[in-house]
Symmetry: C2
Subunit: 209 residues, 2 copies
DNA sequence: CCTCAAATGTATCCATTGGATACATTTTGG
DNA sequence: CCAAAATGTATCCAATGGATACATTTGAGG
């Protein structure tokens, strides 16, 4: 739809002859939603399997804009990276169970599913220092939301300190085993087997029932 | 001083007229131990706090050699990275307890101490795919040695499968919590507090006594 | 010893990449 | 309607990993 419209517009088939475009390309000078397009494109690439950020130039080309245009929206490449991580936490938050579906186990399963499904994005998200993320309004919000969700899921009526410790233990175990798998330290042949292995380790840890 | 000497030597101000050096520098054409010097220099930098690999040129300059010389020993920068990781596993293996000092707890403490003391090197080591490391003879040996050590420390007479699972759980928990700390997700203000926090989480997990 | 080939290092060159500056085009608010 | 703010482009630059061709040593066999 958006793509189709772009093509039609580019060819100019529907333009009447009275208003010839000034150049051979009638792409508007202003993109209109460059920032969103950039973030969407990067996230899409990572979800498609690429595990590195594209170069600024590649990204700009994909969007159909000069590479310097992106710098109107991101101070530097690192800022872009952070923004992508923010999008990632948004996606993660969307994916996690909520309401009556929210239990410690379902939360962990959702978290692991995200890690295994969106490995590149997941790695990017956790490669950054949280402080930098939390400082930005939107991403910080998403991160805090995920943590709040976890605190709620693990709340068994004991004191907050104890709940928090269980959350961190479960989180650490899930994150750590996933990262060891990613590094190749686990023998698990497939992501599915690895997921199951990690799930079992967490269950037998007694952190969740 | 090194800089001063270089300048003087380069200008040749102090050379007597009778024994002119063939070149403006008295450094031998062949370094003699370039590979070792390179690895040592990189490891030293990482241990000094830098958390990125130096550029090939910086490294070469530090050693006093043209940047292309390093490519006689490392196919590309990634090969250098892998070799550094290998050195890292060697250091780790040295640091871990052995003999009668080897217990599950002392092993974990040694592992965590290494992670907190040599954070940059640790990150580098675990950022690589193990497969690539295990393929190289020397590093692979070190990695296998660490794993064998862990299997022994956690061996409580139960079946190997169970021992292995406990090793992975403990490893995953230590690695994961450490990485979450590194990412800024733990509140712990100092590395010491973080180390203690992680140690406590592992102890209360019942994986080790 | 000598010589010559292999080993080791250097000199240069190149493409890619992140980033800076100056300028062009739109949009928009008074 | 117009000037200023937004937004995008054109060009330039330095750093970096890497390639190729060449120079210097070393060392092994005659």
């Amino acid at each position: 739809m958006s793509a189709v419209k772009a093509v039609v517009t580019r060819a100019g088939w529907l333009q009447d002859g009275l208003t010839m475009p000034k150049s051979d390309s009638d792409q508007p000078y202003h993109h209109g939603a460059l920032k969103e397009a950039a973030l969407t494109a990067v996230v899409a690439r990572l979800r498609r399997g690429e595990d590195e950020l594209p170069t600024v130039r590649e990204l700009a080309a994909e969007i159909g804009v000069s590479h310097r245009a992106l710098y109107r929206y991101f101070a530097d490449k690192d800022a872009l990276k952070q923004a992508v991580a923010g999008e990632g936490f948004g996606l993660l938050a969307e994916r996690l169970p909520s309401g009556s579906d929210l239990t410690a186990l379902s939360l962990i399963d959702g978290f692991l599913r995200f890690a295994f499904d969106e490995t590149s994005l997941y790695r990017l998200m956790f490669s950054l220092r949280a402080a930098a993320l939390l400082a930005e309004p939107a991403p910080g919000q998403q991160v805090r939301r995920v943590i709040a969700l976890a605190m709620h899921a693990f709340d068994d009526g004991t004191e907050e300190e104890a709940v928090r410790n269980r959350v961190f233990s479960a989180w650490g175990l899930a994150h750590g085993l996933f990262d060891l798998w990613r590094a190749g330290a686990l023998r698990a042949a497939t992501p599915e087997l690895a997921h199951k292995f990690i799930r079992t380790r967490i269950l037998e840890s007694g952190l969740v029932d």
